[in-house]
């Protein structure tokens, strides 16, 4: 794991950060659409 940790965790971290960011942007758009 130690040799390839960067590749494995780099994949998972970027994936879940991007999905989280999409949700944050969507919530912001939802609030603005309701305003």
């Amino acid at each position: 794991m130690s040799d390839y940790g960067f590749y494995l965790w780099g994949s998972y971290a970027v994936t879940f950060v991007l999905l989280f960011v999409e949700i944050i942007f969507l919530m912001k758009r939802k609030r603005e659409a309701k305003a």
Binding site: M1, D3, Y4, Y7, G10, V14, T15, L19, R29, A33
Partner: protein, 231 residues
């Protein structure tokens, strides 16, 4: 149930609001089950070691990138054929999530390629056609954003979405039609799966999780679009 009742944005709006949280909840539960199976149940790969576990996000993301594009093209075609307002809104709502999964497939594939192939990127048919898919999503989003009238934007975007759908079979069969560094399909309808059953279970759970997530965010986004366009 009269399905045509829900073809109107006004009637679809409350339905989408009611079901979106259920899809979001299902996505979370399936992702937890998939990650647990992938990291604690599925064994270490004999050749690649632990790094193969990238497969649990890479393959589902790649599947969703193609599937979402096809669904987007179908909605776009329905919009052109029947001139329904909801069809264009659905295609518009799907594009950002499709682009996101395409980027994730490329990113995770690149990080998986470095330790296994010795390089982050090669211009082989599978990788290049997936990159073309990302540009098609960007083109669709940019084209719609460039046209002020939403109905005209829907029609212009629909043409691009339909023409671009030809890239999907090219991505899928690229590993068959050309000699590529990318491996062949891990799961085939005709040949079954070429992987260990617990690995397959984890991958399918994550694919379902991504699918449920895509439905949830698309429904929330289409509600925003309905409010923005029709008040």
């Amino acid at each position: 149930m009269n399905w045509f009742w829900y073809a109107s944005p006004q009637t679809f709006y409350p339905l989408a609001g009611r079901v979106a949280p259920w899809f979001g909840g299902a996505a979370l539960l399936l992702a937890l089950a998939g990650l647990y199976t992938g990291f604690f149940v599925a064994p270490t790969d004999a050749q690649q070691g632990e790094v193969y576990r990238i497969i649990y996000i890479h393959v589902p993301a790649a599947w969703l990138s193609m599937f979402i594009y096809l669904v987007m093209a179908v909605w776009a075609a329905l919009g052109l054929a029947f001139n329904t307002r909801l069809s264009g809104m659905m295609a518009t709502a799907l594009a950002p999530t499709g682009a996101l999964f395409t980027f994730i497939a490329l990113w995770t594939g690149s990080l998986w390629g470095r330790p296994t192939w010795g390089t982050y990127w090669v211009w082989d048919a599978r990788l290049t056609s997936e990159l073309v898919l990302l540009f098609l999503y960007f083109g669709f989003i940019a084209l719609q954003a460039a046209i002020d009238d939403p109905r005209r934007a829907d029609r212009a975007g629909a043409l691009l979405a339909i023409v671009g759908a030809v890239n999907i079979p090219i991505i899928h069969y690229s590993v068959v039609w050309w000699n590529t560094l990318h491996q062949g399909a891990s799961v085939s309808v005709t040949k079954g799966a070429s992987m260990q059953s617990q690995m397959l279970a984890a991958m399918l759970l994550m694919a379902l999780a991504f699918w449920m997530y895509s439905i949830a965010v698309t429904l929330v986004r289409v509600r925003c679009i309905i409010r923005e366009r029709e008040g």
